[in-house]
């Protein structure tokens, strides 16, 4: 079985977000990681490969540090990687990313495309869906259990109050939700082997794309940081009085009850 995974490089979950002089998100000195939901996708791909045989290709679009997460996926056990660089693109949106990934995917063989259901940075949860749409593939979102058999994927997803089990023919796009699996750590041997595995670097021009095709349809007009949390308040006194005071404040100042 041929599986393609679409991981994205995001800020570390603990990164402190700041804005630069131009009001853009400051990427300077920030630790970058593989989007955690995409780690579930990579792990699932590896488990499927271990069960059914086949090959796992990881594909990512982004800046010069993207090879780090691709190498991580290779170290975990993926077989090959493709990095499409973002050189020459000032601004991008989900349309840009999905257009580029879909174009590349047209040239790849696959039975299954796996991705995280959303990225923890912009949280738009659109890219996998758009890719499925462009390629005309069925898609199941936010999957927590996945079985593949006889050219079909049977996937469980959490829905309000319970679970839904859906079936789609392959090839299909499946996105991973927390709970799908517990991603493995790359082993030391895996890390050393990763450097011997193929990693292809492409530009947008290599894909025959450019100009309007990849121009964003949505532009961010402004970024701003949340206003800093105001100081907490400690209510002292006898428990009964303090509780009464708390209720009064919640009602009159915070206006939440």
């Amino acid at each position: 079985m041929k599986i393609v995974v679409l991981p994205k490089q995001t800020f570390d979950t603990e990164a402190k977000i700041t804005l630069d002089a131009a009001g853009k998100i400051n990427r300077e000195g920030v630790n970058l990681i593989m989007n955690p939901y995409d780690e579930f996708a990579v792990e699932e791909a590896l488990r499927l490969k271990e069960k059914h045989g086949g090959e796992v290709t990881v594909v990512s679009f982004g800046g010069p540090k993207v090879p780090d997460i691709l190498r991580q996926a290779l170290a975990m056990g993926a077989d090959k990687a493709v990095h499409v660089g973002d050189e020459g693109l000032e601004e991008i949106d989900e349309h840009t990313t999905a257009t580029i990934l879909a174009k590349l995917l047209r040239d790849l063989e696959y039975d299954l495309i796996l991705a995280g259901w959303r990225a923890i940075d912009d949280g738009s949860a659109q890219v996998a869906g758009r890719v499925a749409e462009i390629l005309g593939l069925p898609m199941v979102n936010m999957v927590i259990k996945l079985d593949i058999a006889e050219g079909k994927a049977v996937a469980s997803r959490e829905i309000e109050g319970g679970y839904e089990v859906v079936e789609v023919p392959l090839p299909a796009v499946i996105t991973a939700q927390k709970g799908l699996n517990e991603p493995r750590y790359p082993t030391m041997k895996g890390i050393m082997q990763a450097k011997k595995k193929p990693m292809q670097k492409l530009t947008i021009a290599d894909l025959g794309l450019g100009g309007e095709e990849v121009a964003p349809k949505v532009r961010a007009r402004r970024y701003y940081l949340p206003s800093p949390r105001s100081q907490g308040k400690i209510i002292t006194g006898e428990p009964a009085e303090a509780a009464a005071e708390l209720v009064r404040l919640l009602r009159e100042e915070a206006k939440v009850v």
């Binding site: 090879p67 750590y185 790359p186 030391m188 041997k189 895996g190 890390i191 050393m192």
Partner: protein, 582 residues
């Protein structure tokens, strides 16, 4: 050709020749982040529980670490290892530190436990034991110390006698304070064959006649097992002799070289973690209406913690880079032993510098936590206790200090280091030594480079005088020997700190490192004059003393700089990052 061991005292290298953490490969960086993740998710949550030595927990963690390959960095691939090299091995040692006592178990297992077999084992022994040691299925301990033979390791009394049928050695004696004793499957130990020939043995746990003493109740590293090994006619098969009969001391000392250097790396990891805790705490603890991080005296501590960590880190990776270079084509056996023992001086330096930097760091950590630093619920208390052992085991810091000049002297006698020639040349030069003048080559740290050059001259000057006066009796003058050792240690530390900063500067990444290096050099430099005065006053009297003192003064002269502002700046970086940052 990498610089030879000890040669840093006689000659200079360019920044480009030195390996630094900035030279980590992609693989090194991935190893770093993987181990850090593993430590945060799997080890740190268990650190507290481990303190009580719960049944099976350490073993399970070691097995998980083995699965990941964290036990196999130094083991060749053909024996189930990952053969990652010494830089990676240091990265691992540094990053398992959040596991508390786990790091001690890990260090003893992978260092002194496993290395004797890698370096001295025969083919059968390597095949039999290394795959298990790599996977964590087998855990190793190293038993050298005895009740009456600690620092004086060659004085062991454990005896080995060949059985009448020639199939076994019967071991009799006791080993003391053996890390991992309680959970190990194999023990590297030493006994004197026929009471004379110092010899290494591999003892399996279920050996008849072999048993363990009670767990020691320790000050720190309470999660690690420390017990005695008791041999009462213990039947060790002759196949389990490690190396040659009568050559066990080679194993004992060479295993310690690697152990010491890895201990330095583990200390660096602990320094970083302690500094991270302290910085976070200082930011969040409010007194007098401000976070204590705003106070100059707290900033002073944070900055010096960072500077000492930086110097120790620079030293450890410099040595790791050297070891990787010289063992690139020889991972095991006598060739590797020779390559590694070339750097015995540097390994001792890493051990002393790392363990003393750590003791400084944890002491200040407790202080920054104030009363909470003394309370077990907070992290400083355990760090403080756990750190202390590092100055004692794997050769006390006194023993390691004594080893440094002794090794230099031995190499000088053998003609491997032209120490005496250099000392003589200096004696000519010294009387008309030019006044202090930093080289102005447009590169940063001009003064510090000059200070370093002078420090090397000071070492030759004092070393030359001491050798001239005491000749082969110098070892009896321990205080002088220790001064020479301290000079050598600090020269290596200052040089590593400075060269690393210059290398980073050349790559446009030097800002923080230049200041950390400056801070470090200026912090230790005044000690040099004090040491020199002390040595000169002991070595000379009367007019001679005055002349020599004035030479020492000229060699240790420098322009003081504004260190308070430098420290505030370093502290600001640490506080912004909320951890050690370079």
């Amino acid at each position: 050709m990498p610089q030879k061991g000890g040669a840093f005292l006689l000659e200079d290298i360019s920044p480009q020749e030195m390996f630094t953490p900035e030279d980590f490969s992609d693989e090194h960086r991935m190893i770093q982040s993987t181990v850090a993740d593993f430590a945060a998710n799997e080890l740190a949550p268990k650190a507290e529980e481990l303190e009580h030595q719960p049944e099976g927990v350490m073993r399970e963690l070691m097995r998980k670490a083995g699965e990941l390959g964290l036990l196999s960095a130094d083991i060749p691939e053909e024996y189930g290892g990952a053969d990652l090299g010494k830089v990676a091995s240091c990265i691992i040692a540094e990053n398992v530190v959040p596991g508390g006592s786990f790091a001690v178990t890990h260090g003893a297992h992978t260092g002194i436990g496993t290395m004797p077999i890698v370096l001295f084992g025969n083919e059968e022994q390597k095949k039999k034991y290394l795959p298990g040691l790599a996977s964590g299925e087998l855990i190793a301990a190293y038993g050298l110390t005895e009740p009456n033979a600690g620092s004086d390791a060659l004085a062991i009394r454990t005896r080995a006698t060949l059985s009448p049928d020639g199939k076994y050695y019967l071991l009799n004696g006791e080993k003391m304070f053996i890390t991992n004793a309680g959970l190990a499957d194999i023990y590297i130990t030493y006994a004197k064959v026929d009471g004379e020939k110092f010899t290494g043995f591999i003892v399996e746990r279920n050996t008849p006649g072999f048993s363990l003493g009670q767990e020691e109740k320790k000050m720190g590293i309470k999660g690690s097992s420390t017990r005695s090994l008791i041999f009462e006619d213990a039947k060790v098969p002759v196949e389990n002799v490690l190396g040659e009969i009568g050559k066990g001391h080679l194993i004992a000392f060479n295993a310690l070289n690697i152990g010491r250097f890895k201990l330095g790396a583990a200390c660096v990891g602990s320094c970083k973690l302690a500094l991270e805790h302290a910085a976070k705490y200082a930011l969040q603890r409010v007194q007098f209406g401000r976070p204590i991080a705003k106070f100059g005296l707290i900033q002073h501590k944070l900055a010096m913690m960072a500077a000492k960590t930086y110097a120790a880190e620079s030293v450890v990776y410099r040595i790791a880079g050297l070891l990787d270079e010289v063992t690139a084509d020889k991972k095991e056996g006598p060739a590797a032993v020779e390559a590694i023992s070339e750097y015995a001086i540097e390994c001792s330096i890493a051990k002393v510098l790392g363990s003393e930097a750590l003791d400084y760091v944890v002491d200040e950590m407790v202080q920054i936590y104030g009363g909470y630093g003394y309370i077990q619920e907070y992290p400083a208390e355990r760090f403080y206790r756990d750190s202390r052992i590092n100055r004692i085991f794997e050769g006390t810091n006194e023993i390691n200090r004594l080893l440094i000049p002794a090794t230099i002297a031995r190499r000088a006698m053998k003609g491997q280091l032209n120490f005496l020639g250099a000392a003589k040349a200096l004696a000519q030069e010294i009387l008309n030594l030019r006044p202090f003048l930093p080289a102005d080559d447009g590169q940063p740290l001009a003064q510090e480079r000059q200070m370093l050059a002078m420090a090397k001259k000071l070492f030759l000057f004092l070393g030359g005088q001491a050798v001239e006066k005491y000749m082969d009796k110098l070892a009896e003058q321990q205080e002088i020997v220790a001064i020479l050792a301290d000079l050598a240690i600090q020269i290596y530390a200052m040089e590593s700190a400075v060269l690393r900063a210059l290398k980073a500067h050349a790559a446009g990444q030097g800002e923080k490192k230049l200041l950390l290096a400056k801070l470090y050099v200026h912090d230790v430099y005044p000690l040099l004059e004090r040491w020199a005065r002390e040595a000169v006053c002991y070595l000379f009297e009367g007019d001679m003393r005055q002349t020599q003192l004035s030479i020492a003064r000229r060699l240790t002269k420098y322009q003081p700089e504004d260190l308070i502002s430098a420290r505030r700046q370093v502290a600001a970086w640490v506080l912004e990052a909320e951890k050690y940052t370079t």
